[in-house]
């Protein structure tokens, strides 16, 4: 108890509070710049945490991550160019809202959902870290294969156009993900001797190219007169610029479901917030009362991906605090900062020196509150920022994205790749191939291929398939769930065929 109070008091010191405020502001600004992710910014700041008091550096990092997820949705909604890949699902419904002058409402929904998702997963972390981690650690390669099949099964239904185009797009992503050193043998694949490609195609140039740059290119096709206009205009009616209490309550079931999805995906290392956002979006649509609103500005469609991608953040710390294993880049950076401060996370930290852990928990909850308050102030500012006409705004986006793509690896090759992918994404949109599925194929392939081939090796080491499956209880449960789910989806499909609801065309870019 004393430790808890002491931890809380550490986070409520003036310095820690100031660090959280600065972190949130920096995070929101950096997140809103396409190509600049919070992970990159934090990575660049880690070495400086040597010279900070631990209760300045660590709360600031946590606050930056939280702020940046909200920040990255701002350009997604207002410009259709997400600041980070995790916001890609938000634009599907967020941008149509902004097109109708309801940008303010969309941003308030994002903020509300983000803070909700964050708080939900932080509470799961605080009260359930050891339990959740004990389950998550039983997930080996074979379990991951099944999980990714779940994700794929759920995500192929994001495709609303011709099925064959969806297949081509997703497999195109698979091919791009195969470039680099083979994950099992270490041989070069499709690098053609270019060392820049040994580590594979970078996630940042790939995603920013296909998401942000391709969208800028698509909009540059407009007549010059339209380029002199703004991307969106804002209605001045109050109800279009805020979220009412009734709307907030109506969103709650969606928020709980999406936050739970984000927490589960986040506690398993390697899947990441982009996947969580798309799965949650899809679940929200599947269970919605008005699925036809999705893609045309449904508030549920904005809230679900945001709650999920923020929930991943807190949940990523579950394996870190329980075992000292970082779940993603963000958690790895926090681990680095903790080590620099002389704190080794793990169960032993809870027993021997729990004060810093409780201070982290307190800082996370406090950062959520600060994120909300500063976000409210940031929304009008963001609206003013996009009041620049498109013909100035877009060159600005292109040069900022160049700087961001360069900074991660210090490589101009990445900047070139980003523009090449931008052009490819623009062509795909013109030919009506769903870019989003290509990205999902790209994100999921490395972990699917590695886990799949690891599983084959493990089976080779066991006495055949049956003995292998029997030795892994979690795998048996997952296989059972996968079977039932497949049947359910098939039944739903058949029902839909008979009901003969016309396929509703949506924009897939």
């Amino acid at each position: 108890m004393d430790a808890i109070l002491e931890g809380i008091s550490l986070s409520f010191s003036f310095a820690a509070l100031a660090a959280i405020i600065v972190g949130v502001i920096l995070g929101q600004i950096l997140g809103s710049i396409p190509g600049l992710t919070a992970a990159m910014a934090v990575a660049l700041l880690v070495p400086f945490s040597f010279y900070f008091d631990p209760w300045i550096g660590i709360p600031m990092m946590l606050a930056m991550f939280k702020g940046s997820l909200f920040g990255s949705s701002i350009p997604a909604i207002l410009l259709r160019t997400p600041g980070t890949p995790a916001a890609a699902a938000t634009l599907i419904d967020g941008n149509p809202l902004a097109q109708r002058g309801k940008g303010g409402k969309a941003l308030h929904t994002v903020l509300y959902a983000s803070v909700f998702g964050d708080t939900f997963s932080d509470i799961c972390l605080i009260f359930g870290a050891s339990t959740l981690a004990a389950i998550a650690i039983r997930f080996g390669p074979s379990e991951y294969v099944i999980l990714i099949l779940f994700a794929l099964l759920s995500l192929v239904s994001l495709n609303r156009g011709s099925p064959w185009k969806g297949v081509v797009a997703i497999l195109g992503g698979v091919l791009l993900a195969c470039v680099g050193l083979d994950p099992i043998t270490g041989t070069e694949r499709l690098t053609f001797g270019n060392p820049e490609l040994f580590d594979g195609i970078g996630l940042i140039p790939m995603l920013i190219g296909f998401l942000a740059i391709s969208e800028v290119f698509t909009q540059l096709e407009q007549p010059l007169k339209q380029l002199g206009e703004r991307t969106v205009t804002f209605s001045t009616r109050r109800e279009d610029n805020h979220l009412s209490g009734a709307e907030r309550r109506a969103l709650l079931p969606t928020l709980f479901r999406a936050s739970a999805i984000g927490t589960v995906i986040g506690s398993l290392p390697g899947l990441g917030s982009t996947v969580a956002a798309f799965v949650a979006y899809n679940e929200a649509r599947r269970t919605a009362k008005h699925p036809e609103e999705f893609g045309h500005g449904s508030l549920h469609g904005v809230a679900a991906p945001e709650a999920a991608n923020n929930a991943v953040g807190g949940a990523n710390l579950i394996p870190l605090l329980a075992f000292g294993i970082p779940g993603d880049v963000a958690a790895a950076l926090i681990l680095g900062a903790l080590l620099i401060q002389g704190i080794t996370p793990g169960p032993i930290a809870f027993r021997d020196n729990p004060v810093p852990i409780y201070a982290i928990f307190a800082a996370m909850l406090l950062a959520n509150l600060v994120n909300y308050l500063i976000g409210i102030g940031f929304i009008p500012l963001a609206k003013r920022m996009v009041s620049v006409p498109k013909r100035l705004l877009f060159p600005g986006v292109l040069i900022f994205a160049s700087a961001g793509a360069y900074a991660m690896r210090g490589s101009l090759f990445d900047v070139q790749l980003m523009f090449a992918f931008g052009l490819m994404g623009w062509l795909m949109a013109k030919l009506r191939f769903p870019t989003v599925l290509l990205l999902i194929g790209f994100i999921l392939t490395p972990i699917l291929e590695r886990s799949g081939r690891q599983t084959l090796i493990l089976v080779g080491s066991a006495d055949g398939w049956l003995a292998f499956i029997a030795s892994r209880p979690v795998l048996m449960i997952l296989l059972g769930i996968l079977g039932v789910l497949t049947l359910l989806i098939l039944r739903q499909r058949i029902k839909m065929r008979y009901a003969a609801i016309p396929e509703e065309p949506t924009d897939s870019s």
Binding site: A43, T185, G186, D199, F323, G346, P347, R409
Partner: protein, 322 residues
């Protein structure tokens, strides 16, 4: 202790002042302009953090800005390649570690020859790379593990942080010599290996980040793959004491292009000697799980050349090179 620290601090100040005065507008004295240290990995990792700590201290001693530039990609070979191609004037240096210098040139097509194109200024840190197993494994020592492996061919599953990294090849060669037919499960990064170890996907892991789970009593340390015993566990066998073909040192150091002027070599050698002896740096190293191990230019260079050759021979013996 206090007096020593004070003298140390004073000498740094004196050096800084001295360097600051002499460096002013005098291009003939090194350094007369900012120095860049290239880190061939993305920001935030161990090598990056060490280099930034060194850059900050070197900056005071040299009396000039020392920038750190991340040029990641190609398993570290891009950044090292750019250092090898830089003008040998001492203003572009780079962080080097085992993988891009000792391993990658054998297995990948890299744009430099690590034995010819680089000047190795000094080594500053080595890391321990122990053989780990779960605490409840059916074996309690390295020899029992070997026994288990021989008795159950193909059943002992193991992994390391990198595919075709030094610890992977060294352990492979060790198992070959001991007649153990184990199953290697390729994984990426030490956190995946630790998760696999704790979750039961593999039985043995060779990684350097293990402090947390060891303190919690979840894992046991069986042996060290390098030449030197682990300071806290001196009784454990090392790969050198077992006379295995490889007992690689996993090192961090600073290098520059070939043909650096003697002045640059001595100046950086001295700077790194003083930095690695400082309490500030020792503190950083202890927290980042590294052992301060300064090694001066000529010995470091000889060491690396020998490691490159033994690694090449071991890879040929394993049939991974023609």
């Amino acid at each position: 202790m206090k007096a020593a620290a004070l003298i140390n601090a004073l000498s740094i100040v004196a050096l800084a002042v001295g360097a600051g005065c002499s460096a002013e507008n005098d291009a003939s004295v090194y350094p007369s302009k900012p120095i860049t240290i290239v880190v061939p990995f993305a920001p935030g990792g161990g090598g990056d953090t060490f280099t930034r700590a060194i850059a900050l201290q070197a900056q005071e001693m040299m009396g000039t800005k020392v920038f750190v530039e991340n040029r990641a990609g190609g398993s570290g070979t891009i950044g090292v390649g750019s250092v090898a191609r830089a003008r040998p004037d001492g203003y572009t240096l780079g962080f080097v570690s085992s993988s891009p210098v000792v391993m990658a040139p054998h297995l990948l097509n890299v744009p430099y020859d690590p034995a010819v194109d680089l000047t190795y200024l000094a080594r500053f840190v080595v890391t321990v790379n122990p053989v780990l197993a779960r605490a409840d494994a059916p074996f309690k020592s390295y020899d029992e593990m070997l026994e288990f492996g021989r008795a159950n061919p193909g059943k002992l599953r193991w992994s390391t942080a990198g595919i075709n990294g030094a610890s992977h090849i060294a352990t492979l060669a060790a198992f070959e010599q001991e007649g153990v037919a184990a199953t290697f499960v390729p994984m990426q990064g030490s956190s995946e290996v630790m998760a696999g170890l704790l979750g039961g996907t593999v039985d043995v892991g060779v990684i350097s980040d293990y402090a947390g789970p060891l303190a919690a009593g979840d894992i046991q340390v069986l042996a060290e793959i390098g030449p030197e015993p682990i300071p806290e566990l001196p009784e454990l066998p090392t790969f050198k004491s077992r006379n295995y073909p490889l007992a690689p040192t996993i090192f961090y150091g600073i290098a520059g292009p070939a043909g650096l002027p003697a002045e640059v070599i001595t100046k950086w050698g001295e700077a790194l000697r003083v930095i690695t002896a400082s309490d500030q740096f020792k503190d950083v190293a202890a927290r980042l799980n590294g052992q301060v191990a300064y090694l001066e230019h000529q010995q470091f260079e000889a060491d690396i050349k020998r490691e490159i050759d033994t690694m090449g021979a071991a890879l040929r013996a394993l049939g991974m090179l023609e």
